[in-house]
Amino acid sequence: MPDTQALVMTFLTSLKNATARQTAELLRSVISQQRVPYTNQAGALIDAVKAVGEQLIAANPVELAVGNIVRRVLHIIREEDLSLTTAAIGELNLSAVSDDENDDDRDGNTTLSAAAVAAAARSTLRPPSLQTLLEDTPVSAAVPQTSSSGAADKSSRSRKLKHDVIEAVNELIQDIVTCHEQIAEQAVEHIHQNEVILTLGSSRTVSEFLFAAKEKKRSFRVFVAEGAPRYQGHLLAKELVARGLQTTLITDSAVFAMISRVNMVIVGAHAVMANGGVIAPVGMNLVALAAQKHAVPFVVLAGSHKLCPLYPHNPEVLLNELRSPSELLDFGEFSDCMDFGSGSGSPLLHVVNPAFDYVPPKLVSLFITDAGGHNPSYMYRLIADYYSADDLVVQRRAIAGN
């Protein structure tokens, strides 16, 4: 445990550049170093991951990808535990049936209850639905029937759980690393010959997407809005030109003037919320509104690790971070306006530099993720696949709602 704590501390200090991949790798080391007891191994793992996850999320709440990965790992632990349990019960069934015929009734009851328990346990992992509304809430410790099996069985099961979970987390890391390629593969379906694409700022997913279309011999033009105040659009323009794409650089304020010449807007995202809304670099809402006004499709590229199960209650306030005003103004020239010392003690000039914008779902035409292209109203489905309802609030003691 002390080892993981040190790892967590170094990670937290470097959280400014935290990526989803690093979070997943950190959690993998947490899991592999965690000692698990014989009973309820999944619970111990979940507690350990939640403990670390709480710290990670609290350190930088705006970096939603960190929270997403924590929840994905928790979901993985629950799934692996469940599949092991159902497999164990399935083996039990076989052994019970193949045993002697003396205790027929008892065997019959065991098989029925075991099947029912497995079915019920399976239903808890799925999000609640109308189908299961009337059913029993199953017993949480669904494993008591394993009393007959030996101790050797149990220890092999515990090792198997950790092993399975770590394998699944490795797959997750692999997915995160390759998400750009998987999204880029879909480029050819969306970018056609002689089209004009508009983008804002610079996003690695978008550049890979455009390069992939160029590889497939599509000829198209790109308008790049520079993305003040960081001007990352300049870097993107250079990269595109290096690849042989015809590029036009414009200011953010010129987007509305140029949008009528554009066929499609393709942008990246910082995070995708559960209602289909997008947290994107500042200025994106303007582009989305301009695109809607001129009926230009607004396509958002996002890896599935950016999909967040939370709803944006107050997105302008809670999910934004304010960056340093030095990106806007040079302090030397404006020092007299921003001086706290002189006059009444409070400067008349405030400089605010929000990093993100919220784009509501009705402005987005399509999401392209590594799992394919989807409607904004379909995103809840992916959330149900990747996350468990119990993990939405990552706290050690779950809130008892009943």
Binding site: L130, L134, N314, S377
Partner: protein, 349 residues
């Protein structure tokens, strides 16, 4: 003039009634029960004193009980009183009882939805290999009784889910009296949130007055509006919270008359409209316009005599299409309107 028993009951529970309307409604109620009882005696087994409709009416009288719960309890009573020896027989009896309930009050959507949900559950349960008919039967009865708890828990879950959306200093507009919305606001008040409620009167039942009373008891600042003042006050509103009598397949809702109007005004001013509805209210209906549903009429007392030549629009409910709704808070989670049809498909197909 035919009257909707469902809206009549709601008015009796939550409305402020005048004496001659009360007399009218009581007369109509006795008429309906008599015809319903006769149906059961003629169509069902002879010599049975038990009537599922009477049972349902008994349960329905309790103001805190949801319609669907009353329906499922009535069906549980059918199982208890049935003399069937096989699952098939029991299912047929239940189907008959459920059909008679549904036809007795065609205007109540939660009643229909509750009956359908329970029938679906029975069919699925009987498909499992239970060796013993009696254990299956007792299990069905037990689950039906538990449904009341489920419904109560559902309201609590919905209240919990909505808490994040109520921020300090917000102004909430509510329409009429909805038990689920009341639970949401009660929990927010208990969590010491500072918010203000604008409450419409909700003519002709004037159920908004009842809501205002309850909120005043909780020390929540509440302001009453007449129904026509909604657009006037909409710019100071942060969000609209309504309940639902039924949630239809498109993701729209059927609710007390006036909800559509409020949703339209809110949409035009970019205010979010949140619907709090339990999941058993999801119904397999797809109205295309306001007149597409069966009429649910409720007489209006204007206080002065109206000449007989003058027609009065007496419909008690309207349909709000999904594009005017922002989010649905249900016990299945916070959903966008497009999720509703998905859930229904999973259940029924």
């Amino acid at each position: 003039m035919s009257m909707s028993a469902y809206y009549q009951t709601r008015a009796a529970h939550h409305g402020v009634v005048t004496s001659d309307w009360l007399a009218q409604s009581q007369e109509a109620a006795t008429r309906a029960v008599v015809t319903g009882g006769q149906e059961i005696v003629d169509g069902g087994k002879s010599g049975r004193a038990f009537s599922v409709i009477d049972e349902f009416n008994n349960w329905r009288k309790q103001p805190d009980l949801a319609e669907a719960v009353a329906a499922i309890r009535a069906l549980a009573a059918v199982i208890r009183n049935s003399e069937a020896k096989t699952m098939m027989e029991l299912e047929i009896e239940l189907k008959k009882a459920s059909d008679s309930l549904k036809s007795w009050d065609t205007t109540s959507i939660s009643l229909t939805a509750g009956c359908d949900l329970f029938m679906r559950y029975v069919t699925r349960t009987s498909a499992l290999e239970y060796e013993d008919f009696n254990s299956a039967r007792s299990r069905l009865i037990e689950r039906a009784e538990k449904f009341g708890e489920i419904s109560y828990k559902a309201r609590k879950i919905i209240a919990m889910l909505s808490q994040d959306f109520i921020f300090d200093g917000c102004t909430i507009l509510v329409h009429g009296f909805s038990r689920v919305v009341m639970e949401v606001l009660k929990m927010a008040a208990q969590n010491k949130k500072l918010f203000r409620v604008l409450c419409t009167e909700g003519r002709p039942d004037r159920s908004g007055l009842r809501l205002a009373n309850e909120l005043a008891k909780l020390d929540v600042p509440v302001k009453l509006l007449i129904d026509s003042a909604v657009a006037y006050t909409m710019d100071e509103v942060d969000m609209v919270f309504v309940g639902a009598d039924g949630v239809v397949e498109s993701g729209g809702i059927i609710n007390m008359m006036g909800t559509y109007q409020i949703a339209l005004v809110a949409h035009s001013m970019n205010k979010p409209v949140y619907v709090a509805a339990e999941s058993y209210k999801f119904a397999r209906l797809y109205p295309l316009d306001q007149k597409d549903m069966g009429p649910a009429l409720r007489p209006i007392d204007f206080g002065v005599p109206i000449p007989s030549k003058v027609e009065v629009e007496t419909s008690a409910r309207d349909y709000t299409p999904p594009q005017y709704l922002t989010l649905l808070f249900t016990d299945l989670g916070v959903l966008t309107p497009s999720v509703v049809s998905d859930e229904l498909i999973q259940l029924y197909l």
